[in-house]
């Protein structure tokens, strides 16, 4: 498999693993209904209902999936599916009413056995014994072995020479690639018009890449971006290898030297065998995407909380889709790709997908759960499943199916304090370890260059209505300088808004520098060889002064620290269904996961205290009255108590 680029199957076949899912779903539905009805109901009723439901199901499902004709339907457990309706036995009117009632009651009596049965009847998805290649979406199989190409024999002096070799055959890829966000680091929100993208934004981790590209643009999918002079129209500057090489030996270093105290960290690395890397190209594996996305914010899982190195080879219990012993999805299985543009965006979130799977040939443009699982994702084999499918309107899939994030032994940073940055020992910066995470690794809890960090793992998310729209506090946003806290990316959503659903979030809290005089965030000059660069010189005032001046931004000259919050929608680390939240995790009077969510009446969580008090008084008052009545009867000499 290695060293090959896989090409698409004929377009008439369904894209993505959706196909498999659909068949699974179909079987699940079919079996679930069959068994549920069979257990509970009388044979006659069973056959009628079974036939009708089977017809409806088949008709609706056949529209979406290519399934075998009804006669070739898979039978389950050796029991043949009835091929045609048998005529109903003649009704004897006298027994009809009673018979039906008996049926209903039998069904009810049979319910508890179904209720208390093992909820994890089958693993989701079934664990596979032999490891298989990562599933990357539409492209499966492969038609070329890149280790056989003369063009890739090398030797290559640098990455750009490899890129030129790639573009020699993949003639349009350069054009395509330069449109995407991995290259532009720029995104304009179509609704708010805000200029977003890593190139411009300020976050509440390392704050800003702008002016620090020499360091930060290690994660730019290109070569050599260190300042404003980078040529975004030069195709040879594209870095193909970081996403496609599979030797695991490829790495990137900062594009500029930086302060001597920092650059020492990147010295003495093994040279990269570029020819070997070039010949190893494949569709991106989790490790490729993860080399940046698992290390956002400056370290393993620091930023997102649901994207860590634990996902490089995760067990299916950590992520049911990516599990190496399960479905083994690569990132692109869901983040489907068209001309090097990927589906799925934190800037433009589809919080409620109302289209589902679409028709064959459609819908390869989103990374939503519904685009594979459909709009009624729970196999309808119980009353609870009916209700669960209703919940899809109000509750994002992630809310129940990602019970906790930062699982798998890798912690995430939840609190960052820049106020303590800049302490030195003997004039040198230093760092301290103070947290041992689940996998045994030690994490830094203080760095002179960044301040104090607080870590957490296995975190219960925050929940709120979310319509998919983020509104950022950018470098151009002014706010009250005396505000208690600033939302880096506030979001909107409510019960009344039909696009909104209840979503899980990681909440990131930071004390970070800002312009106290003007009430704006600031670009901080962190990386550089000059004397203003914070990393090495530890003068926050000078670093902000230069960070702002370099981009012609107005700075009052007075900086302070302000509390900022950022919100990270949680969507990875989907647990197997056995580990999904139970109804009672939200529908509970105490400790409801949704205790803080407004705009809803949540049965079990909510009640009318007046009614409950009156009702309790009524019931116990009645009981008391009856007791008194009984007492008088008992003690009155002529009382009626034979």
């Amino acid at each position: 498999m290695r060293g090959r680029i896989h090409f698409a199957q004929p377009p008439m076949l369904r894209h993505r693993p959706r196909q498999i899912l659909h068949q699974g779903l179909h079987q699940g539905l079919h079996q679930g209904l069959h068994q549920g009805l069979h257990q509970g109901l009388h044979q006659t009723l069973h056959q009628t209902l079974h036939q009708t439901l089977r017809q409806i199901l088949n008709q609706s499902l056949r529209r979406f999936v290519q399934v075998a004709p009804a006669d070739a339907q898979p039978t389950q457990e050796g029991r043949p599916a009835p091929k045609q309706a048998r005529s109903l036995p003649a009704f004897r009117p006298g027994l009809t009413a009673l018979g039906t009632l008996v049926l209903v009651l039998t069904a009810l009596a049979a319910m508890p056995s179904a209720l208390f049965a093992d909820a994890s009847g089958w693993p989701t998805p079934p664990a596979s014994e032999a490891p298989k290649p990562q599933v990357s979406g539409p492209l499966q199989g492969g038609t070329a072995d890149h280790s056989k190409f003369e063009e890739l024999k090398g030797p290559f002096a640098n990455g750009s020479e490899v890129t030129e070799a790639c573009l020699g055959c993949h003639t349009e890829t350069g054009e395509h690639f330069m449109q995407n966000i991995h290259w532009t680091w720029s995104y304009q929100d179509p609704n708010t018009g805000q200029q977003l993208g890593k190139r411009y934004l300020i976050n509440n981790f390392c704050t800003n890449s702008r002016g620090n590209e020499g360091m930060c643009a290690q994660c730019h999918a290109g070569y050599g971006w260190k300042d404003e002079d980078f040529d975004f129209s030069d195709e040879t500057k594209i870095d193909c290898l970081v996403c496609h090489e599979t030797t695991g030996t490829y790495y990137k270093t900062p594009n500029s030297e930086g302060h001597a105290a920092c650059s020492v960290m990147f010295e003495g690395k093994e040279p990269i065998d570029l020819a070997a890397a070039a010949q190893s190209v494949d569709l991106p594996q989790r490790a490729n995407c993860g080399s940046c996305h698992f290390n956002g914010g400056g370290g393993d899982n620091v930023k997102h909380g649901d994207l860590s190195t634990a996902l490089i080879e995760p067990p299916r219990t950590l992520d049911v889709h990516m599990g190496a012993d399960g479905l083994n999805f690569a990132c692109t299985a869901c983040h489907v790709t068209n001309k090097h543009i990927w589906a799925g965006s934190r800037y433009n979130v589809v919080s409620k997908d109302t289209e589902g799977t679409g028709l064959p040939g459609q819908r390869t443009d989103v990374a939503t759960c519904e685009s594979c699982h459909g709009l009624a994702p729970h196999p309808v084999d119980s009353l609870a499943a009916f209700k669960l499918n209703d919940h899809v309107q109000s509750v994002a899939c992630q809310t129940c199916h990602i019970p906790e994030f930062a699982r798998g032994g890798v912690a995430t940073i939840v609190d960052w304090d820049w106020r303590t940055a800049g302490k030195t020992r003997d004039g040198e910066g230093y760092h301290e370890e103070g947290y041992i995470q689940g996998n045994g690794e030690h994490r830094y809890t203080y760095k002179s260059i960044k301040g104090d960090f607080t870590y957490d793992e296995n975190i219960v998310p925050e929940y709120d209505w979310f319509d998919g729209q983020m509104v950022y506090t950018t470098i151009n946003t002014t706010f009250d300088p005396n505000a208690d806290s600033i939302e880096i990316n506030g979001f909107s959503g409510s019960r009344e808004d039909e696009r909104s659903r209840i979503w899980p979030f990681k909440r990131m809290h930071t004390w970070q520098p800002y312009d106290k005089g003007h009430g704006t965030l600031v670009y901080t000059h962190l990386w550089g060889e000059d004397e203003a660069a914070y990393w090495g010189n530890y003068d926050m005032g000078a670093a902000i002064e230069k960070g702002m001046a370099d981009f012609g931004l107005d700075y009052s000259g007075e900086y302070g620290f302000i509390e900022t919050i950022s919100w990270w929608p949680i969507t990875h680390m989907v647990a197997p269904k056995e580990q999904a939240l139970a109804c009672g995790d939200c529908h509970a009077p105490q400790d409801s996961r949704l205790a803080e969510v407004k705009g809803i009446y949540l049965p079990g969580r909510d009640r009318n205290a007046w009614l409950d008090n009156l009702g309790t008084i009524l019931v116990f008052g009645t009981l008391g009255g009856l007791l008194i009545h009984a007492g008088i009867r008992f003690f009155s000499p002529k009382g009626d108590h034979h």
Binding site: L101, M111, G604, R607, V619, R633, D640
Partner: protein, 217 residues
Amino acid sequence: MALHRVKIFSLFERFWHWSQMLLIVVLLITGFGLHGFHNLLSFEQAVTLHTGAALALLVVWAFGTFWLFTTRNWRHFIPTASGMWGVLRYYSFGIFRGERHPYRKAYWRKHNPLQALAYTMLKLVLFPAIWISGLAYLFYFAWRDIPDATAWLEGIALVHTAAAFAILTFVFIHVYMLTTGHSFRDHVMPMITGFDEVDLTPEEEAYLRKDEPEQIR
């Protein structure tokens, strides 16, 4: 007029009564669990049992209502003031003095006036309140997009819960009443065997003896 043992509860009526009893007990236990009063069952188990029992009860009621009207048995439940005072006086006074219950079952009037009123109110007020609100509750997601759906749901939940409290109260009084008069057993047996003592006119007795001998002992 003379007392005879006559079948006053048909097989269907007894089945109706006891299945209704069973379902209401299940509904009360699971319902107050869902409301957060106890944790005997998980929320999912409680929802499943509650919904299943509710749908079964609706079927029972559909058949029961049909039966009431097609067999003319609904006439037993017409409220009347005649004799009400005697019954009220008996429960609040006479019962303590060992008096005899003032009411005698008649062939076309098997409930005393207080019973008839109570059952009628149950059938016309409490039961409709709980099943209409319950169905609206169950199918919330079908109407969640109307304006002020949350407020409506809150109101529906209020009606549903209030009706549940009232029905629980009814159950306690209903069961307590079985201990009055004769023995508890004497009150329960008619709903099992179908037979109870009824004051028959000579004509009624003659009719039963001749045309429906299996209805009279």
